[in-house]
């Protein structure tokens, strides 16, 4: 087991959550999704995104429509399905819990310090 694999495993679940979350604000095409994720330093390359989108689509969490593009082939605009929205809400809840739990375990000091930071 090496560190890269562990990191990849960690990121994987989070990436799906982020994609669903980005798409909750409306139709997007992959390049836009990637821009947003890049600006958040979540994903470095586009390659990771395409298999994820296809997989989420095959799980009926996403659907897409074709749109003509002025600068190339037609683009796929993805959006959440109803199932996807439900899935996202569940994930959001899980995420909050997870962050709290993980932080409690990993950084017991930080959790106590955080409120003071907020106060400043």
């Amino acid at each position: 087991m090496n560190i890269e694999n562990t990191k990849a495993q960690m990121r994987k679940g989070v990436l799906e959550f982020c994609i669903l979350s980005i798409l909750s604000s409306g139709d997007q095409y992959p390049t836009e999704i990637i821009e947003r994720m890049k600006s958040a330093h979540l994903v470095v390359v586009e390659g990771t995104l395409y298999p994820l989108l296809t997989r989420l689509k095959n799980l009926d969490l996403l659907t897409y429509r074709w749109a003509e593009s002025t600068s190339g082939p037609p683009r796929k605009y993805y959006r959440l399905t109803e199932k996807g929205e439900m899935f996202l809400r569940e994930l959001e809840a899980t995420w909050d819990e997870l962050v709290a739990s993980v932080n409690q375990v990993v950084k017991p000091n930080n959790t106590t310090e955080q409120p003071t930071l907020h106060h400043e």
């Binding site: 562990t6 997989r55 037609p74």
Partner: protein, 563 residues
């Protein structure tokens, strides 16, 4: 200036530089491999292609129409390494170890290929290519080859062969393949291990299946049958693989041994060369030019198939897939040239033999005091089989030749042919017929005249030389010497045992074979020759008339005396 290729990427036409195209297609192929197990792989790839097309579209313009290497590099940078795709595709339930093994097993598909490395070469980059393939410093391989150059030059031949067989890594793809995943012992061990596990699993499954099959009594027979079929097909495929390996090795071994045998016989290792070879060299290709031609033809006609056998074998063994038609065309072309050359040579040589002419000489014989002639062959001690001169005997169509090495010089001598005919005019005479072939009648006669052969008579003893000599410096043109003794009826001839080799087609009433006629005495009768010392010869078919023939003259008493 660079060549561009027109390529359809995501439904859009691009003019893309060759190098860049190769890099991009290799990149896509690698992604495909990494996504081998992902569902919806084709869809993902289509999306990726579409995105690549979009990015490239933005980078080309009216003033810059071609897609360059740097554009492809940018695209690859933005899309990420093929591993990144695997990261996105792996199932959420995957354990931490799984992607690793997956990556490794997928890596094996991009196995390293054997190429010649033109960037790091001393001669043809063969050694450095092999070095890459086996992950060895090319210095060692070069050293090994350098040593093998001195072993009969076999290394050189092998090197040239490898240089022809192994394709040069010219494109980026090939260069990457050349340096691709290690084919080291670790990998080999692992793949063997995997293979065994696979087989074990198969065997277990098969056993299990058989058991279940027995229990259920043929229920679901069809599906089981098809799985059994799959297993069988795998087994057949593997067996075919093994046989392919053995076959290719056999090809190499046979080809190499034929080549070695051929080269050795050319170099004059006589144990490898057949009589046919020597005969051909002696009779047909007996001047330097024609011999050289014949050798060239031999190399082309025999050597090329041998080399091609080795070539094919090595290619099969190494699974070199790249098609190199030029090698085939060249080989077939050279072989045909060899055949044509050989046919031309044979016709040319044949023309040298096209005409036959002869010179006849009649030597009157003195009637000896008694009626018995003794025919003897004088064997020159220097030239006898027991003598010190090294010789080789050639069996020809109807004449024998000996090749002597006298004082280090090769001398070719022919056996004369001696026959006996009844004399029609009562005279006893010898006719020496010297015959030769040649390109035209005059030359043939010239060759015939220059043949030397001596016969001497002292009273009743006639001595023949054991061999005749063609004219000095004359080539072999089928020279023959036929000596005919015209024997009047009633004369008796004693054939000494030394005549055994020269007796040729002598008619006699008992149809005795020439070889059996020596060491006996023969009497000429109107019906033909009859033996006098008949022990060992079947006389049953000969009529009493002949046996009891007695000439009217006093030869009777002579015969009695002889007995």
């Amino acid at each position: 200036m660079n060549k561009t290729i027109t390529s359809n990427i995501g439904g859009i036409i691009f003019n893309i530089e060759e190098d860049a195209y190769e890099k991009l297609s290799l990149y896509l192929a690698r992604i495909r491999q990494y996504l081998a197990n992902a569902e919806g792989r084709d869809e993902i790839l289509a999306d990726v292609e579409a995105r690549i097309a979009e990015m490239l579209q933005m980078r080309v313009s009216q003033s810059k129409q071609a897609v360059l290497m740097e554009d492809v590099d940018m695209v690859m940078d933005q899309m990420g390494s093929p591993e990144a795709f695997a990261e996105g595709s792996a199932e959420g339930t995957a354990t931490a170890d799984e992607p690793k093994t997956k990556e490794q097993s997928q890596g094996q598909h991009t196995r390293r290929r054997l190429y010649r490395d033109a960037d790091d070469n001393v001669i043809g980059g063969v050694c450095s290519g092999i070095g890459y393939y086996f992950d060895i410093d090319p210095v060692w391989i070069r050293g090994a080859f350098a040593i093998s150059f001195f072993v009969f030059g076999t290394g050189l031949l092998f090197y040239i062969l490898l240089m022809i067989i192994i394709p040069k890594a010219e494109t980026t793809t090939e260069k990457l393949e050349m340096k691709g995943e290690n084919v080291n012992f670790d990998n080999i061990r692992r793949s063997v291990q995997e293979e065994f596990e696979h087989l074990k699993k198969k065997a277990e499954n098969f056993g299990e299946e058989a058991k279940q099959w027995g229990k259920r009594g043929g229920e679901n027979m069809r599906s089981r049958g098809s799985r059994f079929e799959d297993n069988a097909r795998m087994a057949v495929k593997r067996t075919a693989d093994v046989f392919g390996k053995i076959f290719s090795m056999l090809l190499i071994i046979i080809g190499v041994s034929l080549l070695i045998g051929f080269v050795l016989s050319l170099l004059g290792f006589h144990s490898f060369s057949s009589d046919t070879f020597n005969y051909a060299r002696f009779s047909m290709f007996n001047n330097d030019e024609s011999y050289l031609m014949a050798v060239v033809c031999g190399i082309l006609i025999i050597g090329i198939p041998c080399i091609m056998m080795v070539y094919k074998g090595i290619r099969m063994l190494l699974k070199v897939k790249t098609k190199n038609h030029y090698v085939h065309y060249t080989a077939v072309g050279l072989w045909l040239i060899g055949v044509f050359l050989f046919v031309w040579l044979l016709i040319d040589r044949g023309r040298e033999f096209s005409e036959e002419n002869h010179v006849s000489e009649t030597i009157p014989m003195l009637h000896p005091e008694n009626d018995t002639l003794l025919i003897k062959v004088n064997i020159d001690p220097e030239m006898s089989s027991n003598g010190r001169g090294r010789f080789r005997k050639y069996k020809m169509h109807n004449e024998d030749w000996k090749d002597f090495a006298i004082n280090g010089k090769s001398v070719k001598l022919g056996y004369p042919q001696f026959t006996i005919e009844p004399s029609e005019n009562g005279k006893m005479e010898l006719v020496v017929d010297k015959i030769s072939n040649g390109p035209d009648l005059r030359t043939a006669q010239e060759y015939a005249r220059k043949i030397t052969y001596s016969i001497t008579q002292t009273d009743s003893l006639i001595e023949f030389s054991s061999f005749f000599r063609p004219g000095t410096g004359d080539p072999f043109r089928g020279q023959q010497v036929v000596v005919t003794l015209y024997l009047p009826v009633g004369k008796v001839i004693n054939l000494h045992r030394t005549t055994k080799d020269i007796l040729w087609d002598i008619d006699n009433v008992t149809d005795t074979w020439d070889g059996d006629m020596a060491s006996r005495r023969w009497k000429m009768t109107p019906q033909g020759l009859v033996c006098v010392d008949c022990s060992g010869i079947d006389m049953s078919k000969v009529s009493d008339d002949v046996l009891n023939y007695k000439p009217a003259t006093k030869t009777d008493s002579v015969l009695q005396q002889a007995k």
